[in-house]
């Protein structure tokens, strides 16, 4: 459970952490891999979301996945990409969250994901939440907390337990 004061401070400078879909580079699962390679080399992100033709989130793709296909027994060959599409190399079964998820769940998932695809109830991709945005809010929280509040230690329950045992 995240306390209400802490949650308020975390979200004080932003309604939520979402980077909306229109500001996120993505690929269609049917895009050819050489196109995907071009897009990924330009956007500067290591992975981007893959969508179906109805904007539903289906997976992630990164330069890693494509370069991996190009490397065949220590020989690098772009011919290996011929005929392949994003769908052939993308990661599926990745972590994502609903747009009504608790902040607590989002924070947990971000420990193991640099960003989290966010979808609505119809699995339509609505944007991403990044560690970067959470870091900004963490900075705000840790700077403001003891400026605005005195922290008064609560009675320690662990010590009571010692007498019970």
């Amino acid at each position: 459970m995240i306390g209400t004061t802490v949650q308020e401070l975390l979200l004080e400078n932003q309604d939520n952490f979402l980077v909306p879909a229109e500001n996120v580079a993505s690929l269609l699962y049917s895009n050819p891999l050489d196109h995907a390679l071009l897009v990924l080399s330009k956007v500067g992100y290591s992975k981007i979301p893959v969508l179906d033709k109805d904007d539903r989130f289906v997976g992630l793709i990164g330069l890693n996945d494509i370069v991996g296909k190009m490397i065949d027994l220590r020989k690098i060959d772009t011919d290996n990409l011929a005929g392949l599409t994003v769908a052939d190399v993308m990661e599926i079964g990745v972590d994502y969250a609903r747009d009504d998820a608790d902040l607590e769940d989002i924070l947990h998932l971000l420990v193991n994901n640099a960003f989290l695809p966010i979808v609505n109830s119809e699995r339509i991709f609505v944007g991403i939440i990044t560690r970067k945005e959470v870091l900004k809010a963490t900075n705000h929280l840790v700077h403001e907390l003891e400026k605005r509040y005195s922290l008064v230690e609560k009675a320690e329950k662990k010590k009571d337990k010692l007498f019970v045992i």
Copy 2:
């Protein structure tokens, strides 16, 4: 300024956020690019540190930098890599921090960097601090804070000012 209680809570489960150099994949600036491409495609990180032969931190390199060199007017050709080394495409002038830096400075730099190379006073690379490690600590902080402490609002100084003006 980060208050002492908040800083203690952030660092309660770890001495610091450092991932030590021996656990971080890195490249030598003189490594050929096709080797760098192989390493980067295996490690699963989008960027890794580049060191000189004395283990001094000199820059960063990512798949992006290499694939960018392979792409020539919408044509992808690994021949473009021939004769190039890491030094030819790595990013220099990147953010990094000394191993005695304040937590406050580290947190600020991590807003714009997925990880931060950490060096000692002789610029020897000692490891990295990642957003992931900070996120873990943020989770700990936001869960424990209101469990252990009552937050008592301090007298608001802004309101006093209204009377002065």
